[in-house]
Structures are given as C-alpha cells and as structure tokens.
C-alpha cells in the first residue's frame, strides 16, 4: 500500500467565532490506505478536526493539505471529490424525495454523464443493501437504513478518503456489524478511512492507528495496543479500555501475556494458554 500523505495538518489551530479555541497546533500526517480512529471525550475537538479535511472549516492558523491541495485556497466542491464525509446524524444530510435521488445527488453535482451516475449510484446502493428500495422516500426508512443511505450517497462519489463521524451511534448490533463490514471492504479496496468514535471496541477491532484528542490537541498517536497501554492518556481523556483489552489485562495476574484486540483473538489466546 502506498504511504504518501493524503492529508496533512501543519500547525493547525482553529477558533470558533467568538474566540473559543477548538484546535491548537495540530500536526498530523494521514497516509493513503490507513484506517484511523480519532477518539477523545465530547468537546475534545475530534469533529472540528475532521471538518477541516473536506474544507467545511478553514484553519484560523496553519494549513491543511489534502492530496497536496491547500484547503484555504481550494473550493469545497474540489475537496469533496477527494474526501467523503458521512455525518453522525443521517437526518442532517438527507434531503431528497427518493433513495435513488439522494444517493445520486453528489454525482449529478459533479456533472457526470447519466450512465456513470446510474452505475455508481446503483453500486453504492447495492453496497448498503438499499438498491431494492431505490424509489422509497427516505423518511419511510428506518434510522439504520437512513444511516446507510447517507453512507451510500458518499460512497457513490468514490472518494479516496472517507470520514465516518460516529458511524455506529444508536445502531443495533447487526447494523453496527454491517456498517463496519462495509468500512473494512472499502479499506481493503485501498481507501483511507477516518473514523470518529467513542466506541473503544470499534477502535480495537478495526483501526490500525489511533489519534487521541484532548482539549484541541492530538495528545497521542499510535497503534490501538500502544494506546491501550497508556493508562495516563486513557485516564486523562476519560476513555475506557475496551472489554476485551480489560479482560486480557486482568488475566495478566494469572500469567496470561497476550494482548488481543478482538473477541475472537481473546478466545484463541485463552484456548492456547489454557492448553499449555
């Protein structure tokens, strides 16, 4: 997988109108093909940070480079071809009168020909299992289906970078698994996935890299297992170890030394340890 930076922040600071500082001197380099989790408590600056990646917010100081383009001088419409942003609340995003119209809107905006629009929209709807509901009104969908529709309308754009803001909040177990299976597939396809979340089990299971935000600064940037070792960081940011990591750590007192991230790994490690 290529490793050049697709998103780079240089001394990024941002203050909301009224002067409330939300980000201070954030320096990050996101490489193509990474699966990054951005975590931190409510108000730590996670969403403010990712809103800079598609130009929704412009830096108060410093720069954000997206695929070599400075977001200060690049139009949002241009950036939206590179970074797709799926909002936490699908109802903030959905506005059209049919599923198909909603999913194809961005493509039409990019003035693609009818055939391409049809093909990419259909593929995106298939990916989220909504292709059979293409004529349905979005309001007649369940919350989980609307979340998937919001995802499809971004997928259709085939952007190399996807930002998922709290992708599983309020989703039941099956929808959660479906949404994440899709994210994994897109990542395997070579896309860069950035996920803002509170769900530490999600972080452990899926992310290859974790950025911890606190008071507008990136206070830790490492692999999930590295982050889970840092008690001080977890404590000061109010984050919990995911259940699997918590159990594995507690089992150290019984001579267990593995650091599994998923439930399946924990079971495998336990079976090996019990039998030895």
């Amino acid at each position: 997988m290529a490793s050049e930076a697709i998103i780079e922040t240089r001394d990024l600071s941002y203050s909301y109108p009224g002067g409330i500082s939300a980000l201070s001197s954030v320096n990050l380099e996101i490489r193509q093909g990474e699966f990054v989790a951005i975590i931190g408590s409510n108000g730590s600056g996670k969403t403010t940070l990712v809103k800079h990646f598609n130009g929704l917010l412009k830096p108060s100081q410093g720069h954000v480079m997206v695929d070599g383009l400075d977001t200060r001088t690049t139009r949002v419409s241009e950036l939206s071809r590179i970074v797709g942003f799926v909002f936490q609340n699908p109802d903030h995003q959905i506005f059209a009168y049919s599923v198909w119209e909603e999913a194809s809107f961005g493509l039409k905006l990019h003035k693609l020909d009818a055939e391409t629009v049809e093909q990419q929209t259909t593929e995106a709807l298939q990916a989220v299992s909504l292709d059979e509901l293409r004529d349905r009104h979005p309001r007649a969908l369940s919350r989980g289906q609307r979340q998937r529709l919001a995802t499809a309308s971004i997928l259709a754009l085939r952007t190399p970078v996807l930002v998922l803001d709290e992708p599983t909040t309020g989703q039941d177990f099956l929808s959660r698994r479906q949404i994440m299976a899709l994210a994994v597939e897109l990542h395997a396809d070579g896309r860069t996935v950035l996920m803002v979340t509170h769900d530490m089990a999600l972080v452990a299971e899926y992310a290859t890299r974790v950025i911890v935000m606190k008071d507008g600064a990136a206070v830790c940037d490492a692999s999930p297992n590295e982050v889970f070792k840092q008690d001080e960081v977890l404590k000061s940011t109010g984050l919990d170890l995911p259940p699997v990591a918590k159990i594995a750590r507690g089992l150290r007192a019984y001579g267990f030394s593995d650091t599994p991230l998923t439930q399946t790994e924990l079971v495998e490690n336990l079976l090996t340890a019990i039998r030895s």
Partner: protein
C-alpha cells in the same frame, strides 16, 4: 422487592392503518424498585412499549389496543395523561430532542408548572431535582451550551422534577463519551438504590449496563422473546444471536470456551467476572 408497580397483560397494539401489530401478546411485570434492561434490535417494538407504559397509547396515538397495562394498580386507559406523567417519566434518547428552555432552571420548572402546582412547590421541585441529579451549579446555564453528559443529566432532572415512580430511559448514553456514560449510569443506579425508583432502561451498549440490571427483557418483532435474570438470559447466547443480539463480552467469551467443554459455575457478565472465571482455567 415488593409488589408489582407495572403489570402488562396480553398487550397487543397495531398502529392505525397498519395490519401487522407492532406489539403482540406482551406479558410482563415490574416490581417496585427494580431495574429492568430492555434489549432488542431497531424496530423490535421498544418505543411502542414505552408509549403504552406512559399512556401515549391509548390516549394520543391512534391504533387498536388489546389487553391491558396497569400502572400503580389502575389501568392506563382509566388514568389521564397528566396523572400518568406524574407516575411514569420518559427520558428521550437525545437530550436535544427534549431540552428547549433558555436556562436549566426553566427546564426543570416546566414539568411541575404544567401540573399546575403552587409556586412554592415548583421551587421545591427545582431544588430537589437539581440536588438529587447534581446539577445545582448549572441552574442558570443555557442547556444548548452544556456538554452532552450535562445535557443528559438535565434531561433526567427535568423528568425527576415530576417525581415519577417509574423512569423510562431510552438509550441514555448513546451520544455520550465513556466518562459521561459512566456518570449517567452511576446517576441512574443512585436514583434506583437511594430513592427506590423503578427503572426501565433500553441500551445497545450491553457491556456498560448488564451489571446494573435486576432483570432483562428481550424484544423481537413486537414480542417478548426472552425474559429473566441477567445471568439466565445472557447465558443463552445462541438464542440471543438468533435474534441479532449479543451478550456482554465476558459472557460471549465464556460461550465460545464452553464449546470446547469448559464449564462455569457462574456465567460471567462483567469484565471483572470474566477475569475471575477465565483466570481459574489458566
């Protein structure tokens, strides 16, 4: 545990204009002072059940009702919405759906004012709610500018000011970070243990709430599919999976290990119980 404060008998409900019932043959009881955890996939009928408990069904929502719901010994159809509002408090999933006032104080006053209480009683209720919930220092703040956890506390406080016997909380931590989630769950536990309130809580985050519950209710396609003590329900892992649900992580791991012949005297639910149970195998 004493007597049942909620009794639901053969409850069936179909929304007006639909054929398929949203609830079918629901039978359940909540004892005074019980914490019941309601789990079920989206669309299982949880919201419809809440509306049957706080009287929105049958009083406001059009549809066909069969069977009965007794709150505090009287059928909901024989009690007014305002009577029921003082017995059953409902806290919405997102506090921003519920909160609307300019100050937390006004937010807490709204329910008691609508009950037509005397001014002195309204002031007493505001103070009581603020002290119990621990939001006294927020009384003059504007709810819209509070953190998610604080907003959720204010939403619970606004319901608390009505002094309901029964509290229904719909995914109270779904929008909260882990620290705020812990605080809200501790608050719910305190409202139950120190004030004896009966609590019905719906959550997808099973790991965080399983240990709080006295009983578990599993809903599936409008019916109660499983019902019992947490250890009893969460040890039936395969049945849960068939309903598209999962048990807490420790119980899931125990289930996987049991396939290899390992047995557990007490089925672990929390991480701590898991550590103990799996540690003994090592």
């Amino acid at each position: 545990m004493s007597e049942p404060v909620v009794v639901v008998e053969d409850l069936t409900f179909s929304y007006s204009g639909t054929k398929e019932p949203a609830l079918r043959d629901i039978n359940l009881t909540f004892e005074q002072g019980e914490i019941a955890l309601l789990i079920g996939a989206t669309g299982a009928g949880k919201s419809t059940l809440y509306m049957c408990l706080n009287g929105l069904i049958p009083h406001l929502v059009p549809g066909r009702v069969g069977g009965r719901v007794d709150i505090d010994g009287t059928a909901t159809r024989d009690q007014s919405i305002s009577e029921l509002a003082q017995k059953v408090g409902f806290v919405f999933q997102s506090p921003d759906v519920q909160l609307f006032a300019h100050t937390v104080r006004e937010e807490l006053a709204f329910g008691p004012e609508n009950l037509g209480l005397a001014k002195s009683e309204i002031l007493r209720r505001i103070q009581l709610a603020a002290t119990t919930i621990g939001i006294e220092e927020l009384l003059e703040r504007e709810p819209a500018y509070l953190s998610g956890g604080q907003q959720q506390s204010v939403a619970i406080g606004a319901i608390w000011a009505m002094l309901p016997e029964i509290l229904i909380l719909d995914e109270p931590t779904s929008n909260l970070d882990p620290q705020s989630s812990r605080r809200v769950l501790e608050l719910i536990r305190a409202l139950n243990s120190e004030h004896g309130k009966t609590i019905l809580i719906a959550e997808h985050k099973i790991d965080a709430v399983a240990h709080l519950a006295d009983s578990i209710l599993v809903m599936h396609e409008g019916q109660i599919a499983m019902q019992g003590k947490p250890r009893q329900v969460f040890s039936q892992t395969e049945e849960l999976h068939q309903l598209g649900l999962v048990a807490p992580t420790a119980a899931e791991v125990a289930f996987e290990l049991s396939k290899y012949g390992y047995t557990f005297d007490s089925w672990p639910l929390t991480a701590e119980e898991g550590i103990q149970a799996f540690g003994e195998l090592l």
